[in-house]
Amino acid sequence: MISNISEQEEFTIEHPVECEAANEQATFEGFSANLKYLVIGVLFGIVFIKAEIVSWFRIQEMFRLQSFHMYGVIGSAVIVGVISVWLIKRFNIRTISGEKVIFHPKTFNKGQIIGGLLFGLGWALTGACPGPLFAQIGSGFFVITVTLLSAIAGTWVYGLLRDKLPH
C-alpha cells in the first residue's frame, strides 16, 4: 500500500481524461486565445441571470414540481445539444482550426449514483450547481464566495479520499 502511494506520487497525469471538460485542441493556443472562452462564458453568465437559473427560488420551484421553467430550460438545452452533436458527427464538421472534434464517451461507475445523490442534496440547499455559483458571485452576492470555497474544499477532499471511495 505504502509503495503504491509513492509510485502514484511519481505519476503525473499529463491530461485529465476523466475530466468532463477536456481540452482536445491540438494546435497550440496562446494565453490570449483563452479570451474566446471568457467571451463565451460572459454570454453564458448573462443567460444564467436573465433566465433566473441562478435563483434559489427557481430551483425550489423545480424540486417542488411547481413550475415547468427549469425543466423547459434543461430539456430544450439538451435537445439543441443532441442535434448539434449529431450534426457535427454526421457532417464531420471541423473546428475553426480545422481539427476533428473529439468526444469523450462516459464510463459508468458507482460514483455517478453516490456522487450524483450527494450533489443533488447540495444543489437543493445552495440553489446552485457550480456554474450558477460563479454567476451569483458576479451578480453581487459576494457571500456566495464562501459557498464556492466550500465547494473547492469538497472537490479537494474527494481527490484526497478517491482511492478509498467505492467506484
Binding site: 449514483i113 456522487g115 456554474g131 456566495i144 466550500s150 473547492i152 469538497g154
Partner: protein, 191 residues
C-alpha cells in the same frame, strides 16, 4: 432600441434560454475542441493552488486553463446582466412555492436568492453552516465524485447520448427531491 432593451430586461422564457445554453456545446467544440463542463474548474483550482501531491490533482492544469477563463466569464456575465440588464421586479414564482417557503420561514422574496438566508450576518450561524458550508461542500464533493455536474453530465453527456450521464442526472434530481421534501423542513425547524 428602447423596446429591445425592455425586452432584454424581462426575465427570459425557457424556450429562449434553454436553446442558448444548448448552443454552448457546439460553440466550445467548434471554437476550440473543448467539451462543455463547469465543475472541472473546481478541480483545476485545486490542482493549481493546493495539489498537495494528491495524484488526482497532479496533472498539467495549465492545458485546461480555458475552463477557468470560461467560469471567470460566467461571473463577469452575471455582473453585466445584473447591472445593465437587471429585471427591476422580484422573481415571478408560483404562489404555491411562495406559500410553501413562507411556511418554512423564508421571508424575503425580493432578490434572486432569499437574503434572509444568504447574507453575511448568517455566515457564522447554524444557517450559514448548512446553506454555505455543507451545501457548498456537497456540491464540490458530489460533482467530482459523479464526474461532472449539470453541465458536464446533464447537458454535454446527454447531448452525446451517454447513458451514464442519464444515470447521473437522475441521481442529481433524486438528491434534490430528497433534500427539498425530506431534509429541508427539518433544517428549517432548527432555526
Amino acid at each position: 432600441m428602447d423596446s429591445v432593451l425592455n425586452f432584454i430586461k424581462q426575465p427570459w422564457p425557457w424556450y429562449l434560454a434553454g436553446p442558448l445554453i444548448g448552443l454552448t456545446v457546439p460553440a466550445l467544440l467548434l471554437v476550440g475542441n473543448k467539451s462543455f463542463g463547469i465543475s472541472s474548474s473546481l478541480r483545476h483550482i485545486c490542482a493549481a493552488c493546493f495539489p498537495s501531491k494528491i495524484p488526482f490533482f497532479t496533472y498539467n492544469w495549465k492545458k485546461e486553463v480555458w475552463n477557468l477563463f470560461f467560469v471567470a466569464g460566467i461571473a463577469i456575465g452575471g455582473f453585466i446582466a445584473s447591472i445593465l440588464l437587471a429585471n427591476p421586479n422580484p422573481v415571478q414564482l408560483n404562489p404555491q412555492t411562495v406559500a410553501d417557503l413562507q411556511q418554512l420561514g423564508v421571508k424575503d422574496f425580493s432578490h434572486l436568492l432569499p437574503i434572509d438566508i444568504f447574507s453575511f450576518e448568517n455566515l457564522f450561524s447554524l444557517k450559514g453552516l448548512f446553506f454555505f458550508v455543507l451545501g457548498g461542500f456537497l456540491v464540490g464533493f458530489g460533482t467530482r465524485y459523479a464526474g461532472g455536474c449539470t453541465s458536464g453530465h446533464s447537458i454535454m453527456g446527454l447531448s452525446n447520448l451517454q447513458w451514464p450521464s442519464l444515470v447521473a442526472t437522475i441521481a442529481f434530481m433524486l438528491g434534490g427531491f430528497i433534500m427539498t421534501w425530506l431534509i429541508l423542513p427539518q433544517i428549517f425547524n432548527l432555526f
